[in-house]
């Protein structure tokens, strides 16, 4: 196998480990944008707004909220660790596939234009 292929494969394995295992140890606190959007409101234990005025109160449902992977969990898997890890691993593979596809098409579009022997 070519040297570059090894590099890509080991990079993918690293990404799979990060998204599939390490992701379970990530902080669950609201992030930078969320914390600003939530400022001014009070929340109950289920994260529903109970009062106040904040940016987050105008938030509406997302068209993809019923996706089987919504919220970084795989629906139907009861074990949280497994559910988060599997969703992350699927995400890494999906992103690599979509990215590889987009860049491959972009590259294919170029080489068909000329024989790239421009001196």
């Amino acid at each position: 196998m070519k040297k570059s292929t090894w590099f890509i494969l080991s990079g993918l394995i690293a990404a799979l480990l990060l998204a599939g295992v390490v992701s379970n140890y990530a902080s669950g606190h609201p992030d930078g944008l969320d914390s600003v959007a939530r400022e001014g409101c009070t929340f109950d234990a289920d994260d529903h707004i109970t009062g106040g005025t904040c940016m987050a109160q105008s938030e509406t449902d997302n068209a993809t909220k019923d996706s089987p992977l919504a919220g970084y969990g795989l629906r139907g898997i009861g074990n949280d660790f497994l559910s988060t890890g599997l969703s992350g691993a699927i995400g890494v593979v999906a992103t690599f596939a979509l990215g590889g596809g987009v860049f491959w098409l972009l590259r294919a579009g170029r080489s068909s234009r000329s024989s790239h022997q421009a001196g």
Partner: protein, 233 residues
């Protein structure tokens, strides 16, 4: 469980402004596709795919920056250093599309807002800092590492101010705070998040530059040449 990521949800910004920024994002991406295509060779195709997949993975890793506040890497600087600004912005966009469509992370109607902030602004700002510093700083082993940290801090802070601009133009809820206060709150937390991103970015690009310098765009194209190496024509 990882929290929802640092992406704008549906409804936070008015629809008209969301549509406006979808146009901005598309125009910016068109430029990236045209410019990026010139730089794309066979070796870069899988590398750019890997950069996107790696950013997706690291975006799941929220780290705490303040009591009760977390953040995660956005990836613009990492992508710009490894595959350049144009392909890098496309990499971050691919991550945002996968997150919005499959993981319901970031509103689908807010995709243009998020792409503008994180993929376009974040990558452009990170790249400008990287390009400047690598041309100015002496060529030492620590140069790329320090550059990655500084560029990440600037990149994430600039991206956060993109949201402030969008909120100023079309915020759906008036929260009774001045724009200056919102800008300061966003800049404050994102400065810290940028530092965290800087550590991750520096570790990653320093490692890749050590084992495969030929795969690092910034090393190939931007690094100041060693004076003694200068070839006379």
């Amino acid at each position: 469980m990882p929290a929802v990521a640092m992406h704008i949800s549906n409804g936070i910004i008015d629809n008209q402004i969301a549509v406006l920024f979808a146009g901005v994002a598309l125009a910016g991406l068109a430029l990236c596709f045209i410019q990026g295509r010139r730089e794309l060779d066979d070796r870069l195709v899988p590398m750019a795919g890997l950069v996107a997949a790696f950013i997706f993975a690291v975006q799941m890793l929220n780290f705490q920056v303040l009591p009760g506040v977390s953040g995660h890497l956005l990836g613009g600087t990492l992508a710009a250093i490894l595959v350049g600004p144009y392909l890098g912005a496309i990499c971050v966009t691919i991550v945002l599309v996968v997150q919005a469509l499959i993981f319901s992370d970031g509103g689908v109607t807010a995709l243009g807002l998020n792409v503008t902030n994180m993929a376009l602004l974040g990558t452009a700002a990170g790249y400008l800092v990287v390009a400047t510093l690598l041309r100015v700083l002496p060529r030492r082993t620590w140069t790329l590492t320090a550059t990655a940290v500084i560029a990440s801090v600037v990149s994430v802070t600039v991206a956060s101010q993109g949201f402030v601009l969008q909120y100023a133009l079309g915020g759906a809820t008036d929260v009774g705070r001045s724009l200056g206060a919102i800008a300061a709150a966003m800049a404050g937390t994102h400065l810290l998040i940028g530092l965290g991103e800087g550590v991750i970015t520096a570790l990653t690009v320093t490692y890749v530059a050590k084992v495969r310098p030929d795969l690092v765009y910034a090393v190939r194209n931007l690094r100041r040449p060693v004076v003694s190496e200068a070839v006379t024509a």
